[in-house]
């Protein structure tokens, strides 16, 4: 029963939504279900928040590795929740935007979240450079093609690409680095991306059918057993 009810709901809703696309009287059903999804998502927020509290409180109480960071997480979570829920220091009161400039939520967002997330993303540049040094090696034919393409794209995305081949006669303009970079994006990349997109599309259809028909049950947890 514990497994059959969710399986039945999935089958019923999945089939209904497919049928609705082909049935004009109920064709807006998909939109109504999207609104229901939002209502369900609200409960997911509670579950997510509850789970976060449970995991980190357990970590703190058992003094697990790096438990002190859990205190930071919990304090951040509670303060942001309090600031956002009650619109603390918000000049416009409860009706105004949660991110109003003078609000506590807005202040924390601007002074903590933005610098932290920007810093994390900036660090990528260092790792990309290090990874490029180690990974882009002309070990075989395929790797060499990838290397050459990477060179052209890297140069094509800068003003140097234009400058380096500016001397070429107009009859050879197709060989200029920026034009080569555009060609790589518009031809080999496009072909590859289309193939991937078609593959993803087929995969989504196949997985959806498996879920609707109850073959795929991993979403039920415990590997669906």
């Amino acid at each position: 029963m514990k497994r059959q009810v969710p399986l039945f709901i999935t089958f019923f809703v999945g089939t209904l939504l497919i049928v609705s696309v082909f049935s004009p009287p109920i064709e807006t059903l998909g939109e109504d279900f999207s609104v229901f999804f939002d209502i369900i998502a609200v409960f997911a927020f509670f579950l997510g928040g509850g789970n976060l509290l449970r995991v980190h409180l357990t970590k703190i109480s058992r003094r697990k590795h790096d438990w002190a960071y859990s205190i930071v997480t919990l304090v951040g979570f509670v303060v942001m929740l309090w600031a956002g829920l009650f619109k603390v220091w918000n000049e416009g009161g409860i009706a105004a935007s949660v991110t109003a400039e003078e609000s506590l939520f807005g202040m924390i967002f601007n002074s903590v979240l933005i610098p932290l997330q920007s810093t994390m993303y900036s660090l990528l540049a260092f790792f990309i450079a290090s990874a490029s040094y180690r990974a882009f090696r002309a070990k075989n034919r395929e790797a060499t093609i990838l290397l050459v393409a990477a060179f052209i794209i890297l140069l094509g995305r800068t003003a140097f690409g234009t400058m380096l081949t500016a001397w070429m006669p107009s009859s050879l303009s197709a060989m200029e680095i920026p034009n080569l970079a555009i060609w790589i994006m518009n031809s080999p990349n496009l072909a590859g991306q289309r193939a991937i997109l078609i593959g993803i599309g087929l995969g989504v259809v196949s997985m959806s059918l498996r879920i609707i028909l109850g073959v795929e049950r991993t979403y039920l947890g415990d590997d669906g057993k």
């Binding site: 999207s34 609200v42 105004a96 933005i114 997330q117 920007s118 040094y133 090696r137």
Partner: protein, 319 residues
């Protein structure tokens, strides 16, 4: 090539200072030393790579180097679309990004927002990302009162903010906007907002521009709104996502702004037509300096890596 950098800067007519040349000389000499190390088949320590990336990014920030940009067809088409829309067209700008992506995407959002408002289009702002609303509010506060003081909230622009639901939001607003956004960000009902007169769904919009690089984002806007409602969609995305958008161009996406380069190209086109915005800052063009130098340094390291690899392999074969 590395040592041609100052010469190339001169060729580009950039306003590089003495500090720029000294810094570039230091970076160039350092890279030459590393090339020598690579010829000896010695692997370069990752900390050295980190140092060079730090220098290549910080030098153009401390001593700005700017290059002239020419809009490529993918960017030019987005610009022309906004430029050619009749005045008063409804343009929706969706801020679907977080602070991590902001350095790449924010300059595009600024430029397109300025362009749309300068063309007197009616602009509707929204976000599919919770973090996007904060950045959206910040952008509006920074640009609207200073550059467009005559524009009125509700008449010329409106922000409906963020609502949860990801693709589900798009699935609904494609046929009924008010079902997902009953009021604007300040709890004013959409029915009483002038800009929404005659706008009941995304089908009534003249253009959607989405800024982002994650999910939900550009792809979802194309699949759930652009295709279904036949609304033109332009996208401004992080550089890593831009290649994924090319299959949709030019039929499903009217233009693609990819990374800082896309933002710089759009800015250059904008200041050509609207020179007043040149004084308001062109972060995309400014950031092309660090990007250019960082790319050159990465290319140099790829070369070093290959030199060290081939020299090492030859030595092994000799043994």
């Amino acid at each position: 090539m590395i040592f041609d950098v100052p010469l190339l800067l001169l060729a580009a007519g950039s306003e590089a200072t003495a500090g720029t040349y000294v810094s570039l000389l230091v970076i160039g000499l350092g890279l030459l030393a590393l090339l020598y190390v690579s010829i000896k088949a010695i692997e370069v320590d990752r900390r050295v790579i980190f140092l060079f990336i730090f220098l290549s990014v910080s030098v153009p920030i401390l001593f700005p180097i700017t290059f002239e940009e020419q809009a490529t067809p993918v960017v030019k088409r987005a610009f022309d679309h906004i430029e050619n829309l009749p005045e008063g067209s409804r343009v929706l700008l969706s801020f679907d990004f977080d602070p991590a992506m902001a350095p790449e995407v924010q300059p595009m959002a600024d430029a397109i927002m300025r362009h749309a408002l300068a063309k007197n289009h009616k602009v509707i702002f929204m976000s599919l990302w919770a973090t996007g609303q904060g950045l959206l509010d910040q952008t509006m506060r920074r640009i609207l009162p200073v550059e467009f003081p005559d524009k009125i909230d509700g008449r010329d622009y409106v922000s409906v903010g963020y609502t949860a639901g990801n693709e589900g939001v798009l699935n609904v607003i494609v046929s009924d906007f008010k079902k997902m956004f009953p009021s604007d960000v300040n709890s004013v009902p959409l029915d009483s907002i002038e800009i929404f007169e005659g706008v009941s769904s995304c089908r009534d919009l003249d253009l959607v521009v989405t800024f982002g690089g994650g999910k939900p984002g550009a792809k979802e806007w194309v699949l759930f709104v652009g295709d279904r409602a036949s609304v033109p969609v332009a996208v401004g995305v992080a550089a890593v996502v831009a290649p994924q958008m090319y299959p949709y161009f030019p039929d499903q996406v009217v233009g693609i702004l990819g990374g800082i380069k896309g933002a710089a190209e759009y800015e250059s086109e904008l200041i050509k037509q609207y020179p007043q915005f040149a004084e308001r800052g062109t972060p995309g063009l400014v950031m092309m300096g660090p990007q250019t130098l960082a790319h050159v340094v990465i290319i140099a390291f790829i070369v070093f890596g290959n030199v060290a690899y081939f020299v090492g392999r030859r030595r092994e074969m000799k043994r």
